[in-house]
Symmetry: C2
Subunit: 160 residues, 2 copies
């Protein structure tokens, strides 16, 4: 009976996250933006002056994905791309005043959502869940790493 329980959790995790993402997206749309753009704005508030590659690294997505998000954010005048004086290939990213105002708004929403979806859940359960998820994240990262290492070994073999 152990296996189905674990399997059940992986399903439930993806399902709950899907619902939460959809809900956050809905709330984001009410403010004229999207979840992905929200992520960019939030990150930029914490660390202004990043270049696109560094931002992509922080958000754990590919630089090309961030580039297109920035195209839209720049069009909406929420973010500014300033040429990096030390590297003519790169831009440094800054929030505009509008961008800063929006992200402050969204921050309030974020807190609201967390309160809503965890209303009435015991603190102990929240802590346990947090720990379990953190553990899972770690295992997944490890697993991914192992598979990469294995892949490299296989490539080396077939080259030989």
């Amino acid at each position: 009976m152990k296996r189905p329980l674990k399997r059940e959790l992986t399903f439930q995790l993806v399902e709950t996250a899907r619902l939460l993402r959809a809900y956050v997206d809905q709330r984001a749309h009410q403010h004229g933006t999207t979840r992905a753009q929200w992520g960019v704005l939030g990150r930029l508030r914490r660390q202004e002056g990043l270049n696109q590659a560094a931002l992509a690294e922080q958000l754990d997505v590919q630089p090309i994905s961030v580039g297109r998000l920035l195209d839209r954010l720049e069009q909406q005048k929420l973010v500014e791309r300033r040429p990096d004086p030390n590297d003519r290939r790169a831009y440094l990213l800054h929030l505009t005043p509008d961008g800063r105002a929006l992200v402050d708004d969204l921050d309030t929403v974020r807190g609201e959502i967390a309160g809503e979806v965890l209303d009435g859940v015991e603190e102990a359960a929240i802590i346990t869940t947090l720990e379990t998820l953190a553990m899972m994240s770690e295992r997944i990262r490890l697993q991914k790493q192992e598979r990469l290492t294995q892949l490299a070994a296989n490539l080396a073999d077939s080259a030989a």
Copy 2:
């Protein structure tokens, strides 16, 4: 200190799910398919003979999304669209033998993944996490419902 804990959990949830989805996708690719297609195949094995609208309903996505997934699955000869004898608008969906073989393979993988990512996690923690996630899902669904109702009320108001 309560607010940050809840907020932290919403972040961790989305993050862990993202990692898990990426990992599952990686495993799916090793079998020449994708997570979304896997979902379709899995559902079809459980309930063969659905039409596209019913399948979309089961998977909780829009019919158009399922339609395109099926285009690719049909091309790969994993799924068959058979005309519905009772409704000339609709197709009934069936797995091909290849499709059935693949989904059996993937089922093994699913169990492997669940074991890997929850290796060493206490059963009690798994149960608590499962309950918490289920609770969150319910709250999100409720919240979404409330917002819809509110929206309808606003529309009725502005119509009056």
